[in-house]
């Protein structure tokens, strides 16, 4: 026993030593490893037999220690020994680079052409990337933002038109969701408020968000000054408090530290400022007007009204997914809860679903298709540029065959020749990258200028050239240099020394091969340019159609102003009607005002479900949705909308009279197809009282790609005036300068009415089309650049190949061929290439159009993927309007243009070649 155990211990230690040899560099291990293990084992045996376990331990320990010490020494030496090779490589690169610089400088025309091409392409890509980076790629400024979601109530299947599948959430439902779910670690409720802020010189309507006490911790944000909300602040009896935005703090509280503790008069309440949000928060309003940034946050205190019905869809819950819970799991769980609530409250919750939308998607979904499309377009331009430069390089390496062959003959290896040529490419690409950055610097402000300030474009201010963008440009440049440099370089290195040096290097086998390559590049270029131009053509046409949409009324010289009536001051409907009547009277008296009227929203509209009298509802999914506006009777006159049948609204349609409505042609067609609509009755699904149709007017067409809903108009006096109405004023002259006078007239009447959102109707209509305008302009620009590049590339290759064949043509001419025939031959060849390119391009374009169709057209929902649809709620507008991505006219026109460019590119060199004296061209060799 005593004998065996030490044996095994020694064997184990020896084996351990053998494993640890891995610390040595491989070469050392190979040379001595086995001997070392032997020596070590022997030493251990001896030590044990001489001095027992004690000595064994000492020897083994010293052996192991020694192993680590010498192994690291070996490694250090190896690295030290390697450094000279790095140095020599750097020297070789410097040598290559200086040689490359010299060659490039020798042909400045070539270098300049390549540089311009690359600058345009890399510059465009960088500019679009930096916008996209700021908008989409950078994480939201919250804790663990990818797990944040918003919740929506989903209307019953099929009850939705276009983008209106999901709506706000009723607090009662929210409370149940919160209590019953197991998938969210935290939930918070957000509601909107628009308090009127009175200050010494006037009043202003603020954008406020009512938030529950989990809101701040859920997002992981804290006020930069002052305190967060306390639980007490949510107590209805507690004094009201608010946290203000950094922007509001600067604007109205002079950015001073003494602002904390100051009181604000909001509506009829006195609210104490307890905190200021960080300046970089930049959080768009999560509920309420989607493009506003809140001025302040106040603790939510749900009123009895809000807790009365499960139909009070006016809030937006935020939630954080528990770690490890996927969106699908959350969907499944919430679907169960929705069904349970539907069984419990059939009157209100039947058919209602729960939608979960990642916060990021909700904020950015809108921009994604457009930006991705643009990035795709810039990538195409970049590719075309690469093909172009590859072409140029190919032509040039062909011309440099002798030089390269000479270098090979003098002992340059194929690798070193490729390296030399790649160095040239890299220098060109980096040059292009640097110039591209400059171009991007000038382009970015232009792109930003095209985006309206109040669009939901997040973090617009942060768009710019920063480290990430620099890195991106560097990567793109490097990639580009490989893309355009590698093929020509490999091609050049294949060159046969003997052949090339012999007799001026007439094109033999390689010549034909590089011809094939050049031809392939031309085909690629034509097809890329085609795809891009088709895209641009379609987008530009779509935008033009959108821009020239006839709105259905005379939109010139119309001004809209938003007029909120402070509810605390005018509590009854009657008093509100009186305010609006008097206000309208005063505005009409302002000199220069032709006509004025009121509408709940304009050109926007509210949307509701609609029930037709005498028609049974087969299923909730069949309930039509309509848009409506509560208006004052003069609206049609102000807008100059013709009444097609029946009558308009007038002052006699008051609250005491039966309710009446004027409907649009589209509504008449859709609800009473083939019948007379006038005299029929309908009602909103949520109200018991019927509206009688008394007239039919034309449709209003807006500049969006969203599906247009049927519309109807009711007297605001009959539905109780909204707290916020829009004043629509037709003026004699340019409307905007009239705005201050109108504002003064209102202000003189009541100082607590804070007019806001002043713009012309044309502006409001255009604003809806800004995204299309941006895409169309940028895509048009890119397509223009692409066409230019492609034309230059095709011309370059054609003229090169024609020049190469000058001798052959001279021979043909000398043998009696007519110049016309020779020209025709050359042009036919070019045409073949162009046609091949067009054919491939068309296939790619059609495939892409199919692939992207979800983004391109106003989206239609299948019954089955309602939840997928919920993910895109309210955020998704199509890119195209009134035109198909595979519009045959556009396809044909673009193809024709490209073929024409190709023909021209062949014709010019062909004419030059055939104009030569046959003898001279024969001698040109």
């Amino acid at each position: 026993m005593d004998d065996i155990r030490p044996n095994r211990v020694v064997a184990m230690i020896a084996r351990l030593y053998g494993w640890l040899l891995i610390f040595y560099p491989a070469s050392f291990r190979r040379a001595f490893g086995m001997e070392m293990s032997e020596v070590f084992a022997n030493r251990c045996w001896t030590a044990h037999s001489e001095g027992g376990v004690k000595k064994l331990i000492r020897v083994a320990a010293s052996g192991l220690f020694d192993l680590f010490a010498t192994a690291s020494a070996e490694r250090v030496e190896m690295i030290a020994a390697r450094r000279p090779t790095i140095r020599t490589r750097a020297e070789a690169f410097a040598l290559d680079a200086s040689y490359a610089m010299r060659t490039l400088v020798k042909r400045p025309g070539f270098a300049l052409m390549v540089l311009i091409t690359l600058t345009l392409a890399i510059g465009g890509t960088t500019a679009i990337f930096s916008v996209m980076d700021a908008a989409l790629l950078r994480p939201l400024p919250f804790r663990d933002p990818d797990r944040l979601v918003t919740l929506w109530e989903l209307l019953p299947q099929g009850a939705s038109f276009g983008a209106m599948a999901g709506i706000g959430v009723a607090p009662l439902n929210y409370i149940d969701w919160k209590a019953q779910n197991q998938v969210f670690s935290q939930m918070a409720l957000v509601g909107a408020a628009a308090p009127n802020f009175r200050y010494d010189e006037g009043s202003e309507q603020l954008t406020a968000e009512r938030v529950s006490d989990e809101f701040l911790t859920l997002l992981g944000i804290e006020p930069s000054a002052g305190r967060a909300f306390k639980r007490d602040d949510f107590n209805p009896a507690a004094p009201p408090v608010a946290i203000v935005s950094h922007e509001f703090w600067q604007r109205r509280l002079a950015g001073s530290a003494s602002a904390l503790g100051r009181t604000l008069r909001l509506d009829n309440q006195v609210v104490t400022v307890v905190g200021v949000m960080p300046s970089d928060l930049n959080l768009p309003s999560l509920w309420g007007r989607s493009n506003d940034r809140p001025d302040l946050w106040i603790p939510i205190r749900l009123t009895n009204d809000e807790l009365a019905s499960r139909r009070h869809y006016a809030f937006r819950p935020l939630a954080r997914l528990k770690p490890g819970v996927t969106l699908q799991q959350a969907d499944a769980e919430m679907a169960v809860i929705a069904r349970r609530l539907a069984a419990q409250y059939p009157g209100t919750n039947t058919g209602m679903g729960i939608g979960i939308v990642p916060l990021k998607d909700q904020l950015f979904q809108d921009l994604r298709p457009g930006l991705l499309l643009l990035l795709g377009a810039t990538s195409f331009v970049l590719l075309i540029a690469c093909v172009n430069v590859a072409n140029l390089l190919l032509v040039r390496t062909a011309a440099r065959r002798r030089e390269i062959a000479l270098r090979a003959a003098l002992g340059a290896t194929r690798g070193s020749i490729v390296r030399q040529l790649m160095t040239e490419s890299l220098i060109l690409a980096l040059g292009g990258g640097v110039c591209g950055l400059l171009v991007a610097r000038w382009t970015i402000p232009v792109v930003i200028a095209l985006i309206p300030q109040d669009s939901l474009m997040p973090r617009l201010a942060q768009v710019g050239l920063d480290f990430r963008v620099l890195l991106f440009t560097l990567a793109v440049s490097a990639l580009t240099s490989i893309l355009f440099g590698l093929i020509p370089a490999l091609e050049a290195a294949k060159c046969d020394v003997n052949d090339a040096l012999k007799e001026g290097g007439r094109s033999g086998g390689e010549g034909r091969r590089s011809h094939r390559l050049a031809n392939g590049l031309v085909v690629a270029e034509v097809s890329l340019a085609l795809v891009l131009s088709v895209g641009a053509g379609v987008l530009v046409q779509s935008f033009r159609r959108l821009d020239h949409v006839n709105p259905g009324f005379s939109s010139a010289r119309l001004l809209t102003l938003e007029v909120p009536i402070p509810a605390y001051k005018f509590k009854t409907e009657g008093s509100r009607v009186a305010v609006y009547v008097e206000m309208l009277r005063r505005v009409k008296e302002v000199p220069g005002v032709v006509s004025a009227s009121l509408a709940t929203l304009f050109p926007d509209a509210y949307i509701q479900d609609c029930v037709v009298e005498g028609r049974t509802i087969e299923s909730r999914s069949k309930i039509p949705q309509v848009a409506f506006r509560a208006i004052s009777s003069e609206l049609f006159e102000t807008l100059r909308m013709p009444i097609h049948r029946g009558r308009g609204l007038n002052e006699r349609d008051t609250n005491e009279k039966p309710r009446v409505a004027v409907i649009s042609e589209r509504m008449a067609r859709r609800l009473w197809p083939g019948e007379e609509a006038i005299g029929r009755r309908f009602r909103p699904e949520s109200e018991p009282k019927w509206f009688s149709v008394v007239g039919v007017v034309g449709d209003i067409q807006r500049k969006t790609t969203d599906q247009t809903l049927p519309e109807y108009y009711v007297p605001y006096t009959q539905v109780g005036p909204w707290q916020v109405m829009n004043l629509i004023v037709r003026t004699e002259t340019d409307p905007l300068p009239m705005a201050p006078f109108i504002r003064n007239a209102v202000y003189a009447y009541d100082q607590d009415i804070a007019i806001r959102e002043i713009k012309t109707v044309d502006q409001a209509l255009d604003q809806e089309a800004w995204r299309h305008k941006l895409s169309a302009l940028l895509m048009g620009g890119f397509a223009g650049v692409a066409l230019l590049l492609a034309a230059a590339g095709i011309y370059g290759v054609m003229s090169y190949s024609v020049t190469q064949r000058t001798g052959e043509m001279g021979l043909r001419l000398a043998l009696g061929a007519r110049p016309r025939d020779v020209r025709r031959m050359i042009i036919a060849k070019g045409l073949r290439l162009a046609l091949a390119g067009v054919a491939i391009g068309l296939i790619v374009a059609l495939t892409l159009a199919r692939f992207l169709s979800a983004y391109l057209y106003a989206f239609r929902s299948g019954e089955s993927d309602r939840l997928a649809l919920a993910r895109q709620i309210d955020q998704h507008s199509a890119l195209l309007y009134g035109i198909s991505a595979t519009d045959p006219i556009t396809l044909a026109a673009v193809s024709a243009v490209l073929i024409a460019v190709a023909l021209l590119a062949c014709y010019l060199p062909a004419r030059r070649a055939t104009a030569l004296d046959p003898l001279a061209s024969l001698r040109s060799e």
């Binding site: 001595f32 070392m36 032997e38």
Partner: protein, 103 residues
């Protein structure tokens, strides 16, 4: 390094024998654990002061035949030079009466 050179000066030895020789000659004062031993052997081989003798071992096969090391001509020359340099230093020390004269 000098010790190893001396250990193989009077005939070829394998690694373990070199180690034993050095340790016994110095009464255990100089310990040569395997790492140090073979790092030194590597340097001596690179400088061509010693050379391998005996069969080449295949590192992949588990070949247990021992590799011997022997001194080369330049190794011998260098050892002699170093020895005489040391001898001179010792003689100097002796002349200064730092150590007793054994002769």
């Amino acid at each position: 390094m000098f010790h190893i050179l001396l250990a193989v000066a009077d005939g070829e030895r394998h690694g373990y024998a070199i180690m034993q020789e050095v340790e016994s000659r110095t009464d255990g004062e100089v310990q040569l654990p395997p790492g140090t031993l073979y790092r030194t052997i590597k340097l001596l081989l690179q400088a061509e002061l010693i050379e391998r003798s005996g069969p080449e071992r295949d590192p992949l096969e588990h070949d247990t035949r021992r590799v011997n090391y022997r001194i080369t001509r330049s190794g011998r020359k260098l050892a002699a030079l170093e020895a005489s340099r040391l001898a001179k230093i010792v003689a100097l020390a002796r002349a200064k009466k730092l150590i007793p004269d054994l002769a």
